[in-house]
């Protein structure tokens, strides 16, 4: 057997494992434990459902294996090379000509620093310069769709549900513009907004303003659905968790609070950093959050347990997760990308990029469905290649980079029909339609009760006595006091037992007499008499 055949065998083996993994992904969690069910009818129905679920997961896995057109990008170092040391120039020489065109700098020195946003398909980009410069760009053809000035401070820009509308946070109010740069709305209720976010499924525009007020506005009806006081001062760090629509705000005292529009108190308040939180990002699977603090730490959090998974050292002014889970951060003129190496579970440095001195990167954003990282900085905007960052296979009905205008119109209608109510925002969105588990607590058994009592008695015996004066420190007094404590600990358990016993006795009496319900109220009297 030659080495090649061995390789093939390994590949086949790996392929099977891969398939199992893929099936697991599509099953969306474990199935129901049918053995625990007693209702036979329900069991049968659920078994059918489970079988269907398994079958569809398998079919989806097969589709992924054989029918999906593209494999993802990669960058593998050979010999002594390290991926971290690979320069963009070298990458550009190694890749095809189409991809090479995606490496470019656009120098716009006058109106920076620039913030940017992509549509969900990555086809269009909005650039907004701090000093009031807007550009809407078609990323496929690199045509400028619109380029205009507002001559006012612009802090943030965000696309609404498609490329036709975008919102911008300007000096005093946020505004909504259409693609042609015509101002459609001035959202005066929001005030001077620091950061904007758009919730795709809910059609909500979330803003946080200078006084730390978090507002949600429904962009279809114009109704303000939430007006929440974060109460922790000014903040310009706000991100939406795409998994559940919860908005997280990073505060200057190092805490992160998570909000939904329908409750006034935060869902979660967690202390993440010693210093102010400078950046934040969410992984698309919703279980991972990255925060960066001013104390030069980047922390990765497991949002299921709210625990730190990993701490990376370094500072980040901006953070972003790619579709495939790569984490990009930038500070000053340095950009760093981290990646989970296969076989490990921690983020390691994957690539880095350094701009010329004096370029202050203000925003990093991965272009969806492409291996491209876009940097908005003080002197314009730069696009670099990060192989393996983007999702290679798009779904025409979810986000289509090659969307025609007819498809876009159709999709808009469907998205509006499927618009989620603001109540659908919750920490665990899989709970919708599920059964709430019974809260009934099991009664402790006799043995458990005895053990508990013994533990309580032991604890009472172990109490350290204070030193007392005026004869209260006599050994007899101390012994008495200790005895009292033990009795007190016992009493709670004994009383419980007594109550149970008396109820049993009563029951026995009623059983003995066996009178109709209507006469039972006379029974007690009779016995006592």
């Amino acid at each position: 057997m030659g080495p090649k055949e061995e390789n093939d065998l390994a590949a086949i083996q790996r392929g099977e494992d891969d398939e199992d993994l893929i099936v697991k992904k599509y099953q969306r969690g474990d199935g129901i434990n049918l053995e625990a069910l007693r209702d036979k009818k329900l069991k049968g129905q659920l078994r059918v459902r489970e079988d269907l679920n398994k079958k569809s997961a398998k079919a989806a896995a097969l589709i992924e294996k054989w029918l999906m057109p593209g494999g993802g990008g990669y960058l593998i170092a050979e010999g002594l090379e390290k991926t971290k040391r690979v320069l963009q120039e070298d990458l550009g020489e190694a890749v095809d000509i189409l991809s090479r065109q995606k490496q470019y700098d656009i120098v716009l020195p006058e109106f920076g620093p620039y913030s940017l946003d992509f549509t969900s398909s990555g086809h269009y980009m909005a650039l907004a310069g701090r000093k009031g410069h807007f550009v809407i760009l078609d990323m496929k053809s690199m045509h400028i769709i619109r380029d205009f000035q507002v001559r006012e401070t612009v802090r943030d820009v965000v696309f609404l549900h498609n490329e036709l509308f975008f919102a911008a946070a300007q000096k005093k109010y946020p505004y909504i513009y259409n693609q042609d740069g015509i101002e459609l709305h001035c959202l005066k209720e929001h005030g001077p907004v620091e950061k904007l976010q758009f919730l795709q499924n809910h059609f909500l525009l979330a803003t946080i303003n200078k006084s730390g007020q978090l507002r949600y506005q429904d962009v279809t009806t114009g109704e303000i659905v939430g007006n929440l006081r974060t109460g922790q001062g000014r903040s310009n760090v706000m991100e939406v968790n795409p998994f559940n629509g919860v908005v997280a705000v990073g505060h200057s005292r190092g805490s992160v609070s998570m909000w939904k529009p329908t409750t006034a108190a935060p869902l979660v308040k967690m202390l993440c950093h010693q210093g102010p939180v400078s950046a934040m990002a969410f992984h698309s699977n919703g279980h991972l959050m990255a925060t960066a603090g001013m104390e030069r730490k980047i922390k990765l959090w497991d949002l299921r347990k709210f625990q730190v998974l990993q701490t990376l050292h370094g500072h980040a002014q901006t953070l972003e997760f790619s579709q495939k889970g790569l984490l990009a951060g930038a500070t000053g003129s340095c950009v760093e990308v981290w990646k989970v190496e296969s076989g490990t579970s921690s983020y390691e440095s994957y690539m880095s990029h350094t701009m010329a001195k004096g370029f202050q990167v203000g925003r990093v954003a991965f272009q969806p469905y492409e291996d491209v990282l876009c940097l908005g900085h003080s002197k314009g905007y730069t696009s670099i290649l990060i192989p393996g960052s983007g999702e290679p296979n798009f779904d025409t009905w979810v986000a289509n980079p090659f969307e025609t205008s007819k498809q876009r119109r159709e999709k808009e209608i469907h998205a509006l029909l499927d618009k989620l109510p603001p109540e659908a925002i919750m920490l665990d969105p899989t709970k919708i339609g599920a059964v709430r588990p019974a809260r009934k607590k099991e009664k402790p058994t006799k043995k458990e009760m005895e053990e508990e009592m013994e533990a309580a008695i032991a604890a009472a015996k172990d109490i350290k006595m204070k030193k007392k004066t005026k004869g209260r420190n006599k050994p007899s007094k101390r012994a008495k006091k200790k005895q009292e404590a033990v009795e007190k600990a016992k009493r709670a358990f004994l009383q419980h037992g007594v109550a149970e016993e008396s109820s049993k006795k009563r029951k026995r009496i009623s059983e003995e007499t066996e009178v109709p319900i209507s006469l039972q109220r006379f029974v007690k009297k009779k016995i006592s008499g």
Binding site: A60, G70, I76, V95, G390, D395
Partner: protein, 452 residues
């Protein structure tokens, strides 16, 4: 260094010519669709609402009779043909597609009380209060389409006079015998002018008769002595009898389960019985607020339609305690007869206001030929609806029906009465010797006794 970057050329992902279909790529990765459960739930709510929006069950009224419609019969040979008989002795054959009378069969002197057609669809049998049974030749399908002989008087094939008025007639499923109900149950042959056999059990009038489609020798009748009687033609005497507290107006056999039948009772309920276990009904179907006059099973055997004296038509699941659908219009009066069409997609009702009415069996179903895309959409909507049907919002939307004021009020009154009865029974039980008044299920309470 090995490197690969995603690179898509537009011509691989877009169509070549403008006549081509747009290319579609799928990726079923759950992370691309966040909050899919919430989206699904919203879709289920929308589907439930759309179902309500499109619920337009009334197709049309077939008018022509000049007295109330008393009975109907399906034409087994022709999907859109239906016969109806009225209280003035008029029998009509209707074309459901055009909603017009194809032919009339004049002859009866009094009310027509029973109509049935032979299984081959050649012969129509009618009977009435004029003590006659008449056999008619059914026009062939082509004549129905031509529709030129609607006023052509036709003579019956045969008219047999007997010595009592008839209440109902039903044809046997495998040969040319039929049964009439009146003072007794008579079995007739097409070619004999007198009954070939007669059954009698008690002196009370028999008011309905129905042959079992699966087991052709078995027939069930209901009588004015509140009884349901089972006959076997192979025996010389009736087989079994069960007496209920109130009269049964009509009986229908489940065409898919030959041992089960459902009885439409005078006490507003329908009772599903198992033939082998007549001492208690298997299921009580309640919702009507007045006597149920007629009942007919869908050919699928999964649901049945009932017409009631409370001016409504209801559709029940074969095992459901409450109706899934109620049909009513302002102009529809007491419903005397109902039929499911042979393709299970329409319901016909005949009522006191001399009209037949045509309803859809599924109120919001889209009729006509569906595109595959439409079909898929309907399937998807029904499946999300059924997945989230237990959630209160969806349950509320799906269950809600507008009721006529009279029915609504009668329903509320009935509920109060039932509750009071139950309370009284509870108190009586509490104040009597333990065990002397055992708790009895409602379905058992309604049956008095079973006689062998």
């Amino acid at each position: 260094m090995k490197v690969k970057v995603i690179s898509r050329s537009a011509d691989e992902f877009t169509r070549e010519r403008s006549q081509d279909l747009q290319r579609v790529f799928r990726n079923f990765d759950p992370t691309l669709r966040p909050q899919e459960k919430a989206v699904e739930y919203v879709r289920a709510v929308t589907a439930a609402k759309l179902e309500k929006v499109f619920a337009r069950p009334f197709v049309g009224a077939l008018d022509g009779h000049i007295d109330s419609v008393s009975c109907m019969a399906k034409n087994p040979n022709h999907l859109k043909g239906i016969f109806s008989g009225s209280m003035d002795g008029d029998i009509r054959l209707w074309d459901l597609a055009t909603r017009r009378t194809v032919r009339q069969f004049p002859g009866h002197q009094g009310a027509v009380r029973g109509l049935t057609s032979s299984t081959d669809g050649q012969v129509l049998v009618s009977c009435g209060t004029d003590c006659t049974v008449r056999l008619w030749k059914v026009p062939v399908a082509s004549v129905m389409e031509l529709d030129d002989s609607s006023d052509d008087p036709t003579e019956p094939l045969a008219a047999y006079v007997w010595n009592n008025a008839f209440w109902a007639v039903d044809h046997k499923w495998d040969d040319n015998r039929f049964a009439t109900a009146g003072a007794q149950v008579d079995i007739w042959d097409h070619n004999r002018s007198q009954p070939v056999n007669s059954y009698e059990w008690g002196k009370d009038t028999v008011i309905s008769v129905r042959f079992n489609p699966g087991e052709p020798d078995i027939l069930a009748t209901s009588g004015s002595d509140r009884s349901i009687t089972i006959y076997d033609l192979r025996l010389s005497s009736p087989a079994r009898k069960v007496i209920m507290r109130t009269k049964t107006n009509s009986i229908a056999w489940n065409p898919m389960e030959p041992m089960n039948f459902t009885a439409a009772n005078e006490d507003c309920n329908c009772y599903s019985y198992d033939l082998r276990k007549l001492d208690e009904p298997k299921c009580v179907h309640q919702d009507h607020v007045s006597a149920v006059m007629d009942i007919d099973y869908s050919p699928t055997g999964r649901e049945f339609v009932t017409g009631s004296y409370d001016r409504t038509v209801r559709i029940f699941q074969y095992n459901g305690g409450h109706s899934r659908e109620i049909y009513h219009t302002k102009r529809m009066q007491r419903v005397f007869c109902v039929k499911f069409t042979c393709d299970a997609s329409y319901v016909v009702s005949g009522s006191d206001d001399t009209n037949l009415r045509l309803w859809k069996a599924n109120a919001s179903e889209q009729m006509g030929v569906l595109l595959p895309r439409e079909k898929k959409k309907h399937e998807y909507q029904s499946s999300v609806k059924s997945r989230y049907k237990h959630l209160p919002e969806i349950k509320r939307i799906v269950r809600h029906r507008h009721l006529p004021k009279a029915v609504f009020k009668a329903d509320a009154t009935r509920r109060i009465q039932m509750e009071a009865e139950r309370r009284k029974e509870d108190r009586r039980r509490a104040h009597s010797a333990p065990g002397s008044r055992p708790k009895q299920a409602f379905r058992k309470k309604r049956v008095l006794q079973e006689v062998e």
